[in-house]
Amino acid sequence: MSTPPSLAIRVEHLSRSFGPVRALEDVSFDITAGEVTALLGENGAGKSTLLKILAGLQPPSEGGVTVFGDTVTAFEPSTMLGRHGVAIVPQELALLPDRSVAENILSGIEPGGRAFPSRRQMRARAVALLAELKLDIDPDASVRGLDLATQQLVVVARSIARNCRVLILDEPTSVLTPAESERLFELMGRLKAQGTTLIYVSHRMPEVFQLADRIEVLRDGRHVGSWRRDEVTPEQAVAAMVGRELDRFSSRAEQRAGTPRSAATPALRVADLSGPRHESVTFNVAPGEIVGVAGLPDSGRVEMLQNVFGAIRSRGGTVELGGAAYTARTPIASVEHRLGYVPGERRAQGLLTTMTVAENIGVLTVKALTRVGLVRRGEFTGRARELATRLRVKTASSDTPIVNLSGGNQQKAMIARWISIDPRALLLDEPTRGVDVGAKAEIYEQLFALAETGVGILCSSSDLPELLTITDRIVVMAQGRVVDVVDTRTATEESIMTAATGAVDHTSAA
């Protein structure tokens, strides 16, 4: 391991326990100044805990941290940033939504008097900083109106304004489109060139191998791998993360090559469907088929899914389930029709946040298990536990609060929920967002098994390799319209992106 003078952060024998759970166990490594260090690990590996300690959001139980030679004595955000120069860009961006970009960048360090900061100076400082970072953001725009990617860049600028020397980015690309990610990478490149040390967390291997100088891997709270980028392959890194060699997942299209397409009545038929941000969308999903929906975040694919499910108001068009028209769509009616929807915003739209794992899984069985107004608890818990086992939801008990589970296990619970009503068709949005590699493979297997039983699956995702792996056909949307329907066997990331960005328009391939 390299030694000073180029040492930015040294982590020594760091441990952190939460009650009986050891989140971090005796982790030691060095972070070299001016480099990009990628921190890898599955959900629950201890990455978040380590980042929180480095950002001063949590003290360690044992061990210590040294930043540029100074031993950290107080693990508080203000000390870590003010004295040691360590800033974090968290996954949940904490900005002041109703204030301007300039105010957000400089809030707390306003130029001029403390009580009455000078607006003119503030704007000038913000303009200078944005120019230095080559960011084309209006300093007077209110943050509420900015997209997530731009908000993230504002948080980066805010950290730089506070003279941070080490910047931690916690899964910054999980919510970004490829183009937005590129923009962030360029900024990271400029910061690195200026000598800023970057610590970066991601699940996306291609990115990691494009950006990082060093790769550190955590598994089950322990430090299990440390390489320079050129010393390791993505397969080795993934193997260290999951603790076993992952079989390369052969894509569904390859597996099913030669299987004739089912001629039966479509499980789901959508015709001329219009609603917010989408216009006359038409496609079919056969029983046992997995159809993907690709498109940029503003392509209207999420709204289209919500319209099919009845979560938002429709402006026209028809939906058929198993050949029968499904009109007057609402979530309540969709449950009765056995049409499921797993939303992409898990925390905001999926989880019943104050309830247990069993209650989250079993919520759709409550009605059927109610006798004279009372829920039959024994049977309810029994069924939920059965589903949890079947989908391999890892949880201490079925009484554990759902929010205590890792992202992957929460997502498995969300899918288990719909399996409980034996769905005819299942709509999923971003099925593996914030899910680690191991759980991802398990979720794919579950979707394949579900398709095997004749369920029609419609899966919207911004992760193109994912769509190419798990679908039979892909509907490509751009600006609210279907621009292409491609056979997954013949599709490539490039061909889908070309269609999604509107470069070509041909709807004949179906």
Binding site: F18, I332, L352, T353, T354, V363, V366, L374, A396, S397
Partner: protein, 333 residues
């Protein structure tokens, strides 16, 4: 973490789990208060005194059962004190006008249900926050109460037919010892526990309170669940109002002013969060008795009611602060 099977929790009353519950802290405080009462005053432990506590907390307790549904929903009902008076005045006027007392009670309860329906419909149909809706209806219901009674108090005369039977509900004692009001509280509480912890409505209440959007997307009728809570709250406020009238044989337009604060305090002390989605009926019951015992001890020691108000306020803040502290310690442990 590595096992895939989901373990069974066998014992329904696992002691360790029980101790981890939020209610455990309040319950411990309740026991502590009880011991304190026994130390400061020998008369505290006399059954007559303890039963009088039961008598005093019954009306607040019944209202708190309803309020728990509203608060677990993530809503608030500030109008219960006014609904209490409106129901009591309605029943009182009906009895005075010669309406049979059973029918008069039904009129009072009907008025409470109607008041809850008005609150609930305004919240779910107009989308106005319940704090604002019920702040308004607190004033409106109080005004209507004063209007229909013309500001004059109603005193039930023992000569009016049926009044003797009616007043038995509030003043009577089972086996000559247990106050009837306490019995009513026990019945309402038992129903409340059953509905909130075992029924489909109860399940949906926690789902809606914790995350209304997620609840909507799994086909829960969010509006119906919220509406039910306000109706239940109106009904329990009316039950208390009718019992209050029966207990005192007297009601006036300003009766029950400020009751909403005591009721909400009891629910909060009992561990429900104002964000919704958490809290239990047992917690509320403990909170009700906590406030009751506290006031009783202060009464026995002859401390002025002004100080009682101050102490109750402090206890609410301390209770919530202790809860926050405990939760933070848990995440740090």
């Amino acid at each position: 973490m590595s096992t895939t099977a989901v373990p069974t929790r066998t014992a329904p009353f696992d002691l360790r789990r029980l101790l981890h519950l939020r209610e455990a802290g309040v319950f411990a405080a309740l026991v502590l208060l009880f011991v304190l009462g026994a130390i400061v005053s020998p008369s505290f432990l006399q059954s007559s005194n303890l039963l009088s506590v039961g008598q005093q907390v019954a009306q607040i307790g019944i209202m708190a059962i309803g309020a728990t549904f509203v608060i677990v929903n993530g809503e608030i009902d500030l109008s219960v004190g006014s609904t209490y008076a409106l129901a009591a005045i309605s029943t009182g006027m009906a009895i005075t006008a010669g309406v049979p007392w059973v029918l008069a009670i039904l009129i009072g309860l009907g008025v409470g249900v109607l008041a809850g329906l008005v609150n609930g419909l305004a919240v779910v149909l107009l989308g106005v926050p319940s704090f604002i809706v019920t702040l308004g209806s607190l004033s409106v219901f109080r005004g209507v109460t004063l209007l229909i009674s013309n500001g004059a108090p109603i005193s039930l005369s023992a000569d009016t037919p049926g009044v003797a039977d009616f007043t038995l509900l509030g003043q009577g004692k089972l086996f000559g010892a247990i106050p009837m009001q306490l019995i009513f509280f026990a019945i309402v509480a038992a129903i409340g526990i059953l509905v909130l912890s075992r029924s489909r409505l109860g399940f949906n209440t926690y789902a809606v309170g914790g995350n209304p959007e997620a609840a909507r997307l799994v086909g829960i009728n969010v509006r119906a669940v919220k509406l039910s809570a306000f109706v239940i709250s109106g009904l329990t406020a009316a039950i208390s109002g009718v019992l209050g009238l029966s207990f005192l044989s007297y009601v006036q337009g300003v009766t029950g002013t400020g009751l909403e604060l005591t009721v909400i305090s009891a629910v909060i002390i009992g561990g429900a969060a104002l964000f919704g989605g958490s809290g239990t009926m047992w917690g509320t019951i403990i909170g009700v008795f906590f406030i009751g015992l506290l006031q009783n001890i202060l009464n026995i020691k002859g401390i002025s009611s002004f100080w009682q108000t101050v102490v109750t306020g402090l206890v609410i803040v301390v209770a919530v602060a202790a809860d926050t502290w405990q939760r933070r310690r848990k995440t740090r442990a």
